[in-house]
């Protein structure tokens, strides 16, 4: 007897929980598994995808931090380079276009008050006898100063009290009016007389003009044919000629040390510098007994 099959019955048995007779056979088939290589690839992809989601905030944070660090580094480098350029300028004395204008200040308030009496006396004398030299007492705009350079401040004697405004112009005008008529020696004397206002105006060139000032002093002495005492008096009336850093440093020395430095300068052949120091020393210490050697140098 043959038994015909009913497809719907077979289907129903297939859809049973155990999937019928073929389900049993199917479950006994081999169960191939994916190779480990695929497992690694899939899990790596999944992990990478998750990390990719989380990464951007961390990367943004790192980016911000890196940018800030870069800015700080760049600012530091720029500052260092600026320092080096300033130092080079200070050494070479090269002008800088962006220099700022800084009013001239006295060296120090303490030093100024200590010697105020002698300075004022000297200035008053200078006003009486050489008003033109003290006339340009306007606090000058100052010369181009380097930001980091040692402050080149004028010597105390070079900062006289304001001169009467009415006195200065006539002399200046007079000098300006007759430069051609004056003999060459007189021209040199006039130039020498005008040198101090220029020095006040241009503090930065003080060091460079020190030697020129010496020459002018010499020229002035020779031109007018001053006798030695008169020349000495002229020198004593003159404001402190040097405002060099060295001279200002010496002002802060003890009197004995300062005198020893003056002797050293003289012995080293730097006679004019020694004279400038000695002149300033006598103003600051008028009662100090000088040795014969220094007295001769002063005279």
């Amino acid at each position: 007897m043959s038994k015909r099959r009913n497809p719907d019955e077979d289907l129903q048995r297939l859809l049973d929980a155990d999937a019928g007779e073929f389900g049993a056979i199917y479950r006994r088939l081999p169960h191939p598994e994916p190779p480990r290589r695929l497992d690694r690839v899939v899990l790596a992809n999944a992990a990478r995808a998750v990390r990719g989601d989380r990464a951007p905030p961390a990367q943004r944070w790192l980016l911000g931090l890196g940018s800030a660090a870069g800015l700080v580094l760049a600012a530091g480098i720029a500052w260092q380079v600026g320092q080096q350029i300033d130092a080079q300028d200070a050494q070479t004395g090269a002008p800088r276009s962006e220099r700022t204008v800084i009013p001239v200040q006295p060296i120090t308030e303490s030093a100024r008050t200590q010697k105020s009496e002698s300075v004022e006396a000297a200035a008053a004398m200078a006003d009486q006898e050489l008003p033109a030299e003290a006339a340009p007492a306007k606090p000058v705009s100052a010369p181009p100063l380097r930001r980091k350079a040692t402050p080149a401040k004028p010597a105390p004697a070079a900062v006289p009290p304001p001169a009467p405004a009415a006195q200065a112009p006539p002399l200046l005008e007079q000098r300006a009016a007759e430069p051609q008529a004056a003999p060459p020696t007189a021209v040199s004397a006039a130039d020498a007389a005008q040198a101090f206002p220029e020095e006040k105006d241009n503090v930065s060139s003080e060091a460079a003009s020190g030697a020129a000032r010496e020459r002018r002093d010499h020229a002035a002495g020779k031109a007018v044919g001053l006798s030695a005492p008169k020349a000495a008096a002229e020198q004593s009336r003159a404001p402190a000629p040097s405002s060099s850093v060295k001279l200002r440093q010496n002002m802060h020395l003890a009197p004995q040390d300062w005198l020893a430095e003056i002797v050293r300068l003289k012995n080293a052949g730097r006679r004019q510098e020694a004279i400038e120091n000695l002149r300033l020393f006598r103003r600051m210490h008028p009662d100090w007994q000088l040795s014969d050697e220094l007295r001769r140098l002063a005279e």
């Binding site: 015909r4 497809p7 073929f22 389900g23 598994e33 695929l38």
Partner: protein
């Protein structure tokens, strides 16, 4: 593999919960999910495509697409159905590129062979080894759509509705494909 040794961990969580956890960045959830479905998915692909290289390729591609679409996954869809949909689409694309579908006339021939006498049923006399071999051959010889439908039932245990959802065809079409597939398999056992 470490994730495969996490036996029991996360078993209290459903596939859907694990998938949502992974979408939120929980890599351990994905490892559990992968451990649950790697075998059935691989066998479905291997028996559908019959080529290990193809199965490997589409297995990796299926998971890659699931990973890429994790943020679009919604709990309304059962995870198994969602994953098998991805795999099924890839399989169909591969079929279309490789060879034409089997003709419908072949199915009629198979049904005619079903009128065999009951005492001639080969499963009564075939050894267990022979039964497994014939089933494998029958699966390989099935037309692709029938084979995929049959495998979704046998390997993945899906019902008519779920198969319909995965394959994108109507319920009756699923039933028809299953009937034809069953007839062909039986024919292989009775020859």
């Amino acid at each position: 593999m470490d994730c495969l040794n996490l036996a029991g961990m996360g078993s209290e969580r459903t596939d859907e919960e694990l998938m949502l956890a992974y979408a939120g960045g929980d890599m351990l959830a994905f490892e559990m999910l992968y451990r649950r479905h790697r075998g059935t998915l691989y066998r479905f692909l291997l028996r559908s495509l019959r080529q290990r290289a193809d199965a490997d390729e589409l297995f990796q591609e299926t998971w890659s697409r699931a990973i890429a679409a994790r943020e679009r996954y919604r709990v309304e869809a059962k995870f198994t159905t969602w994953l098998l949909q991805i795999a099924h689409n890839l399989v169909i694309d591969r079929f279309r590129r490789s060879r034409p579908q089997a003709s419908a006339e072949e199915a009629e021939v198979v049904f005619n062979q079903l009128d065999a006498p009951d005492d001639e049923r080969p499963d009564r006399v075939l050894s267990e080894f022979e039964q497994r071999r014939r089933l494998q051959i029958a699966l390989e010889e099935l037309p692709e759509e029938q084979r995929v439908t049959f495998l979704l039932r046998m390997e993945n245990g899906l019902g008519l509705e779920e198969i319909s959802e995965v394959t994108g065809v109507g319920r009756e079409t699923v039933k028809s494909r299953l009937r034809y597939a069953l007839a062909r398999v039986r024919a292989r056992f009775e020859t």
